[in-house]
């Protein structure tokens, strides 16, 4: 009975913090639209219109006879999710450096609620941005061949990856303790790792040193899963690999974040 009450209070506190973060996101809407939607849209347009001709011809078999935009969009969607890391880490850092977190710590509030709110809103923002970028992709000629069941799987994979990266960003935000640090340490996630994956070109086409990393890193597993689902290709075991990566990243990041949060004040 006590455990149940504790659970209900924890859920209520987390919902309150989520309410707070949603209000924050609304207040910072213009900023978020630029970083979460405009940046991936620009990447989409650049790679499709400017570089797409050559890249598409170079793909050969990997494109399966489709246009380059169909190859590109799954990667852009993963980049969109990753683009949400910076704002999340920065928001967490700013919360930890202000007096507000001390107020929360002196109240009988569930310890994990503040982080749960940050992670929850982060996932929401990533999903909304991914949906918006998908809409733009459809406008510029993206033609997915996914079935209804595939779409459910796609939303599930995007949500799982968002959840994993949101916890990772929260942990980075807690560990860095400065806005510049939070921004700097999430930059590899949102910018470097997508390039070193199958986002724009197949990992197999990369130089030997990078190839192994690109072929085996989590972004590639997620991108390949989405690409298979969106283009109607056989998916094989890749979705399980992608989900395993998401679970591993989420678990490690969660433990790291909790440790950092406890360490927060001395």
């Amino acid at each position: 009975m006590i455990a149940l009450t504790t659970l209900i209070i924890a859920a209520q506190d987390s919902a309150t913090m989520l309410w707070r973060e949603i209000k924050h996101s609304i207040r910072l809407l213009r900023l978020l639209i630029v970083s979460a939607i405009l940046v991936p849209v620009v990447m989409l347009l650049l790679f499709d219109y400017v570089l797409g001709g050559t890249l598409g011809r170079g793909l050969g078999d990997a494109a399966r006879g489709a246009l380059y935009v169909d190859y590109l969009v799954p990667g852009i969607l993963v980049m969109t999710v990753a683009g949400g890391c910076g704002p999340t880490a920065i928001n967490v850092t700013m919360d930890m450096t202000g007096g507000f977190v001390d107020r929360i710590r002196t109240m009988a509030v569930t310890r994990g609620a503040l982080l749960a709110g940050h992670v929850g809103v982060s996932v929401l923002r990533m999903l909304v941005a991914t949906a918006a970028v998908t809409g733009v992709a459809l406008l510029v000629g993206f033609r997915p061949k996914a079935s209804v069941a595939d779409w459910f799987a796609i939303v599930g994979i995007v949500a799982a990856f968002s959840f994993a990266l949101a916890w990772l960003s929260a942990a980075i935000g807690l560990a860095t303790k400065s806005v510049a640090g939070a921004n700097g340490f999430t930059l590899p996630l949102s910018f470097l790792l997508p390039f070193l994956s199958s986002t724009f070109v197949p990992a197999g086409s990369m130089p030997a040193g990078v190839r192994w990393f690109a072929a085996n890193q989590p972004f590639t597993a997620v991108v390949d899963t989405l690409r298979a689902l969106l283009t109607g290709a056989p998916v094989g075991n890749i979705p399980y690999l992608a989900l395993a990566w998401c679970a591993a990243i989420a678990l490690v990041s969660y433990v790291w974040a909790q440790a950092e949060f406890r360490r927060g004040t001395k």
Partner: protein, 319 residues
Amino acid sequence: MNAMTKRETRIAVSVNGLRKAYGKKVALDGVDLSIGEGEVFALLGPNGAGKTTVVRILSTLIPADAGTASVMGHDLHREAGAVRALIGVTGQFSAVDNLLTGEENLHLMGRLLHLPPTERRARAAQLLERFDLVAAARQTPATYSGGMTRRLDIAMTLMGRPRLIFLDEPTTGLDPRSRQIMWQIIRDLVADGVTILLTTQYLEEADQLADRIVVLDHGRIVAEGTPEELKRRIPGAHIRLRFADVASLDAAARELREGARDDKELVLRVPNEGGIRSLREVLARLGDDVAVDDLSIHTPDLDDVFFAVTGNQPEEKTR
């Protein structure tokens, strides 16, 4: 609450042998405190004396290295949750959410305190009214003055009707008018029966508000008592006489023999331990021939106390 705990909670805060060090720097070096319910208790001291460390420990933010402490009968370490439900903290640094409006900030507190929605709204409206924030309720604190932000901060603390409130330097950085308003807010809280632990580096503030004062210096208690007791402990009562010229000052110094003279200011300070009787005596000895420009009677203030108990002048404060 049964009769047993009710009797025990007559003491709001009890602290024994509190120690805290940050690396090699000792912040608290064995502090004992006992604060009764309904009391305004001031921790007075310069920057770095350990005031904020006491507040951070007692408000469950950081653990002490040694010593025991209880708040309203709950052990700080073992029953942190129970302590948190009874206290309210307004720290030195603004703890308002700058992206939420004033009203939303209060509602956030109400939600975290699990107040029913009707009570939450009523309490928020009442506090906005009480702290003169109705017109600014729909704006974010980015548009607020320092005094308004501090009032919102305290209003947020009061959403939960805490029985013990920690006010860590509540008027630091405020203009004189906002300071007066804050003092009135604190007096009103006391009238409601709330216990207050106040830290300040303003001696005047402790004198104005506190029932009891503890003077902290380098993590140790160097003096303790009511403002009156502290003032009585130290010499410093004197009559200050200012003269029109050096000749009058010379004449007066000859007649009175004791006292400290300041030739630049043309001032003579005469010890005045006997009140009106010694004042009359001083005037009689001066006679009608010595022209006194100005006369004032000085009772010691807490600056004198600080000097007497620590041997240091408190650092110059900028207000």
